[in-house]
Amino acid sequence: MITEVRKVRLDLHSQDQLSIARRTVQEWATDLGFGSLERTKLVTAASEIGRNTLVHGKGGDMTIAELSRDGVAGLALEFQDSGPGIADIAQAMTDGFTTAKSMGLGLGGAKRLVNEFAVQSEPGRGTRVNLIQWKRR
């Protein structure tokens, strides 16, 4: 059974707010005692998705929640925007979309960095991305 210990919503409408969001994820992960590698992966994933929300999604918000499941701590991030949405999610998930040439969507890469990943999007209906990183024993 998963319980939510605490939860905070942060605006993502500017570079500064993206920086704050990144720092918040870093702090919460440190507080929970995440190892340096899992913490780095989570914050990097947050940076990738957060950037998408800001640049492609034309701004939105990030909700961070501390979870607990059978005594194991976890951090859940939800990014929501009401931008143009993604037409072809499958394509967005392939690595070709993170080429050095374009401002790639980085979804496939971010997915590999976290334990749980889900994306929901429809053209014209915005995008929502959920990430969860559980603390390794």
């Binding site: 570079q15 340096s36 590698l37 913490r39 780095t40 950037r51 993170t98 790639g104 890469g109």
Partner: protein, 123 residues
């Protein structure tokens, strides 16, 4: 507007990135480097990222752009000090940054730059 300082070390430019590189700062850095390279005719650029705990695909692309731009201006680029966690994360992201030279620290980075320039036939 803050900018990242670029130091000149004999024939080389040294950049130490210690803060988060957001969009504007990244663009400014690339512009400053281009200008400095052209003015100083430096033979190489050393970028120290040992202070960075997070390197996402944006920063990865920025570093790649800098290396490509320096190449065009006939200068080598060496990136030093990448942390293990950062290296593993970049590989997972799919950014292996092939073509960019790397070294463990500033010392070895300078050795590499000197070696590269000797090979290239520079006196």
């Amino acid at each position: 507007m803050d900018r990242i300082p670029i130091l000149k070390l004999q024939d080389y430019l040294l950049v130490t990135i210690q803060v988060e590189l957001h969009d504007q700062l990244a663009i400014t850095l690339q512009d400053d480097l281009t200008r400095q390279l052209s003015v100083s005719h430096a033979r190489g650029v050393l970028i120290d990222i040992s202070a960075l705990e997070i390197v996402d695909s944006f920063i990865g692309r920025t570093l790649a752009h800098i290396a490509a731009m320096a190449r065009i201006m006939d200068a080598h680029t060496v990136i030093v000090g990448m942390r293990p966690a950062v290296a593993i994360t970049l590989v997972e992201l799919g950014m292996s940054l092939t073509g960019i030279k790397t070294a463990l620290n500033v010392d070895k980075g300078m050795d590499l730059l000197l070696a590269l320039n000797t090979q290239a036939g520079h006196p």
